[in-house]
Amino acid sequence: MAKETMIPIGPYHPLLEEPEFFKFYVEGEKIVDAEVRVGYNHRGVEKISEGKTFDQATFVVERICGICSTSHPFAYVRAVEDISGIVLPERAEYIRTIIGDLERIHSHLLWVGLAGHFIGYNTVFMWAWKYREPVLDMFEVISGNRNHYNMFKVGGVRRDIKETDVPGLLKAIDDVERFCGMLLKAVIDDPVIKARLKNVGVLKKEDAIAMGVVGPVARASGIPIDVRKDHPYAAYDRVNFERIVMEGGDVFNKAAIRLLECIESTKIIRQCLKQMPPGPIDAAVREVGVGEGIGQHEAPRGECIHYVRSNGSNYPERHKIRAPSFMNVPSFKLTVIGESIADAALITAAVDPCYCCTERMAIVDRESDKVLLTGEEMVRLSQAKTEKLKQKCLY
């Protein structure tokens, strides 16, 4: 009988939003059970936020995540504006939309690049990150920062997009769109990638509904939810874009959805830049008022939701934050069991939670705690599987 071995994956890398620690129990190559442990990077932001004024909390929540740093401020300011129904100037709504979707592009490209690296397609990794770079440069042009843009404030945005920056912005998103189209063709037609990613880590539709998953993970399993369409906000109801939904629920679908969404995002940004009316960018809010508010935002990883209660003072009485990965991560258990170790890295990464944690992966013998396989070897294992498939498919 095959001996059951425990493989710990993790615990974490402090870079990303949701560090986690996986324990996979395997028999031979097959995963038979999985456990997830999170909380290594819990900083108590909800409590910190209660001690900050409404304006300061915007900066605090921006620091929750380094990759999608705008998602939390976006949801948070919407929650505060919801308390007393603050109406924004139109230009501010457009600028918010542009920032939100530029971020989606760079976040998705980051994922695509790393997914390419994991399956041994380092060219994809280099290309995706090459085209991600101009997007970050545009952020620097708009806000002065490549990553923490600090663009949001209650009642508007902090910086305007200058007319002189628009041509550069348009060129950058044109390049991204072309690249995503090219990559999409390459990915969809490649027999090796198909063999490697199709039917791997499938999340069934009914499971996805029960687990309440959101964002690309839900849309890959055939659940057509997208906050931008379902709960229109900012300028999303004033631009045309498609809701990308697929049925398979496997890693291939999740990858394809992210690429297609990048293309949709470029369309959104182009329309916003065209339609954006001149005018003020700030509603100059003096008082938040008493009450409670809920704010949602479709972050790159799915719906991000904030609940804020104000008692009339300068500080939120309660500030509840729910990041999309909080719903997506628990679905792992349903996707990895029955798969092989060589795919574990890819499947855990397909939800786009925290890539870096998989680099700290090691296979350890349950009895002696001896490391059998390190993270690097896991990546090599995954790449070797692709290599084998390549031989089979191409020759």
Binding site: V38, A210, G212, D230, H231, E303, K320, R322, F326
Partner: protein, 151 residues
């Protein structure tokens, strides 16, 4: 018929507050709240977005936020879990999506979710002292008491 109307028909005694067309708050006692949440989730296929726990003087408020994606609404079902027992029936056996967030509320605010399959700590470290709840608006009688808890 809209989702809200169906809820109103099924549960006639509810206290419904439509703050604006997009945000609806329903107040109910513990049992009714659970029944409303289950009805929304299972029969009306509404997504459970998250649950908020909020410490107040008489108890901990639990707010179930359900996103009605077809109607651009968020329905929030609010219920008060009374102190000092702080016990409420868990919705996790019926709604797996609530597992993590109920664990979070349990460790952060000390609410006991009866029937939850696994109330182990989720975000706090394993050696976190029992009976200390970070999100409670707790006051300490003296510096001594604070020190004792810190140690």
């Amino acid at each position: 018929m809209s989702i809200l109307e169906q809820v109103k028909n099924k549960f006639s005694q509810l206290e419904v507050n439509e703050k604006n067309p997009k945000r609806i708050y329903i107040n109910a006692d513990n049992e009714t709240a659970k029944a409303v949440v289950l009805y929304l989730f299972h029969d009306l296929k509404v997504r459970l977005s998250t649950i908020t726990g909020l410490d107040s003087r008489p108890g901990v408020e639990i707010l179930y936020h359900l996103a009605v994606d077809g109607e651009a609404k968020v329905i929030t079902v609010r219920t008060l879990v009374k102190k000092p027992e702080l016990e409420i029936a868990s919705v996790t056996p019926e709604i797996p999506a609530a597992e993590w967030v109920e664990r979070e509320i349990a460790e952060m605010l000390g609410v006991k979710f009866i029937g939850h399959p696994n109330l182990a700590t989720l975000l706090l470290p394993d050696d976190w002292p029992a009976g200390v709840y970070p999100l409670r608006k707790q006051t300490f009688e003296s510096k001594q008491e604070l020190k004792e808890i810190e140690n």
